[in-house]
């Protein structure tokens, strides 16, 4: 999908992205990310024994929010992500759904430049928002 500035409206939702990483996926992410914190793969790690599980990496959630944004934006030379951010407010566990959502929060011009701000977040299957964030896209 490659969205065009002219077709974007305030309040538009962007297509959801649903992930359901298992433990093996978290191991693949650790290998790709270089973060081998046992919190994310070792059930015997003291914090995991206390929590009853390993946790999905915060960066995994960040990365899949980025994937959702790029799936909507498409690879176009006239539109670039200038800024993306998220906070982590809750825990996700392997095997559970992570639902990435977003909507157009602002559409504006600054001089000759055109921008869209997205409100983006991850949700659990029961609606808990664990990683709220935003992204700014600049259109040429």
């Amino acid at each position: 999908m490659s969205v065009k500035w002219e077709t974007i409206n305030l309040g538009d939702s962007i297509p959801e992205l649903i992930k359901q990483p298992d433990l093996t996926q978290l191991v693949k992410f650790a290998a790709g990310n270089g973060d081998f914190n046992p919190l994310h793969h070792d059930y015997k790690y003291i914090a995991c024994e206390y929590l009853g599980s390993v946790l999905v990496q915060g960066h995994y959630r960040y990365a899949v929010l980025g994937e959702m944004v790029m799936n909507w934006l498409g690879h176009q030379q006239v539109a670039k992500v200038k800024n993306i951010s998220c906070q982590h407010r809750g825990m996700d566990f392997p095997g559970a759904e992570i639902i990435c959502k977003g909507l157009v929060a602002k559409k504006y011009k600054d001089g000759d430049n055109k921008f869209v701000d997205l409100s983006i977040w991850t949700e659990t299957s029961d609606g808990k928002q664990n990683s709220p964030g935003k992204a700014t896209i600049q259109f040429a």
């Binding site: 650790a30 290998a31 081998f36 990365a63 670039k80 992500v81 982590h88």
Partner: protein, 163 residues
Amino acid sequence: MADHFEITDEMKAKIGKESPPWFFEVTTTGVRAFARGAGITDRVYYDEEAAKQAGYRSLPAPLTYHGTPVFIPGESDETFSMPLNADVTVEHGLPNTIDGGKETEYFEQICAGDTLTCISQLKALDIKVTGSGNHMLVTTIQFAFTNQHGKVAVIERLKVINH
């Protein structure tokens, strides 16, 4: 959880402290591994021909990926893979660590073939008090990545919460 935590003058004196430069390599293998790890299926991150047809020099780095830090045994952290001397955090004695989130600002496209030089910097130390009165230390670290052409490619700010 700590019911009281104080940021000492010694800690405050380290705000602004920068690391020596450390290096990230953006390779086709690394881009594919990160994309695979996140379960990204877009072919542009795996297939160089697809990447070029999409207008990229080579495989583009997925959002939030800025290459892989150069790892050298004995000189790099075994868990987090960064050089030991790139750590700009303060000694605080709090046992637990939470990823508080990141903000990433992009200035240049990052693709396989790029080499990024990173300077990490301690930007801020703050105390956050929870509703139940527990004190948490919030450390803000900035990572500034410059590419092989001397241009700032990415600036990222990470919040680490210790309690």
